[in-house]
């Protein structure tokens, strides 16, 4: 998994490439915790480059959501592939996250 941080005005985009699974979900968790250490952070997680995500990855996304609410920040997702979106559906998560079609949409809504 590779993580790339891009500043887009007030919004921070974190682009994920590769897989998010049991072996690396903790790395993403730690990164999200660090990012939300500054309060009021507007974070958009771009999942375009994600090959697949397992339940360990979903746990991390839930943690990200919790970090955001406890630091008065915002946690949103964008660019879910059809396969990744299927898992969100399967897990009943679609309505629990703020999900945007593209990075541009996400930035526009968050900013």
């Amino acid at each position: 998994m590779e993580l790339q941080e891009i500043a887009a005005g007030r919004v921070t985009v974190l682009a994920v490439t590769g897989r998010i699974d049991s072996s690396n979900a903790m790395d993403l968790s730690n990164r999200l915790r660090t990012l939300y250490a500054s309060s009021g952070r507007l974070l958009l997680l771009d999942l375009q480059g994600v090959d697949y995500i397992t339940s360990a990855g979903f746990r991390t996304l839930l943690i990200g959501r919790r970090h955001a609410s406890s630091s008065s920040g915002v946690f949103a997702l964008c660019n879910l592939s059809a396969k990744v979106r299927d898992l969100f559906d399967m897990g009943g998560f679609i309505s629990n996250f703020s999900i945007h079609a593209t990075r541009e949409d996400g930035i526009a809504r968050l900013a």
Binding site: R19, D21, S22, T54, R65, K83, M90, G91
Partner: protein, 137 residues
């Protein structure tokens, strides 16, 4: 028919060789991307479960993973000497609960049951045997 086999130790780092095995199967059988995605998710869920929760001791254990393709069906078999555990009897998560109320543990096995076309479990001679089938879309 193509059959690939590997044996890993109960370390999360060893899952790398299972992912390599899936890549080999993908190349050998020209598997669709969606099938490979499902297999990768399911193997990570099941093997990480065994590694994290399967053993009552801290000793090294072997887990056997076999992947095969025949008649447009991918078969995955997993053999481990951990505690008896039938993933089919694990409770379904209550998806109607809000995230705050929901225990997250059952999610991985929920994915396994949803993504596979058939899951069979047996316990024999102190081994867990899981046989999963996925029809190639």
């Amino acid at each position: 028919m193509v059959t690939l086999q590997t044996t890993i130790r109960n370390n999360i780092g060893d899952l790398e060789s299972v992912r390599d095995l899936v890549s080999k199967l993908e190349c050998a059988c020209a598997l669709p991307e969606k099938t490979v995605f499902d297999i990768n998710v399911v193997l990570d869920e099941l093997l990480s479960n065994i590694i994290h929760y399967g053993y009552a001791d801290d000793l090294p254990h072997e887990i056997g993973v076999t992947l095969s393709v025949r008649n447009a069906v991918v078969e995955i078999s997993i053999k481990d000497d951990g505690k008896a555990f039938d993933p089919l009897t694990a409770p379904e998560p209550d998806l109607t609960l809000s995230l705050a109320e929901r225990p997250i543990g059952g999610l991985g096995l929920h994915f396994v049951r949803q993504l596979m076309d058939d899951v069979e479990y047996k316990r024999e001679d102190n081994f867990n045997y899981l046989l999963l089938k996925k029809n190639i879309a």
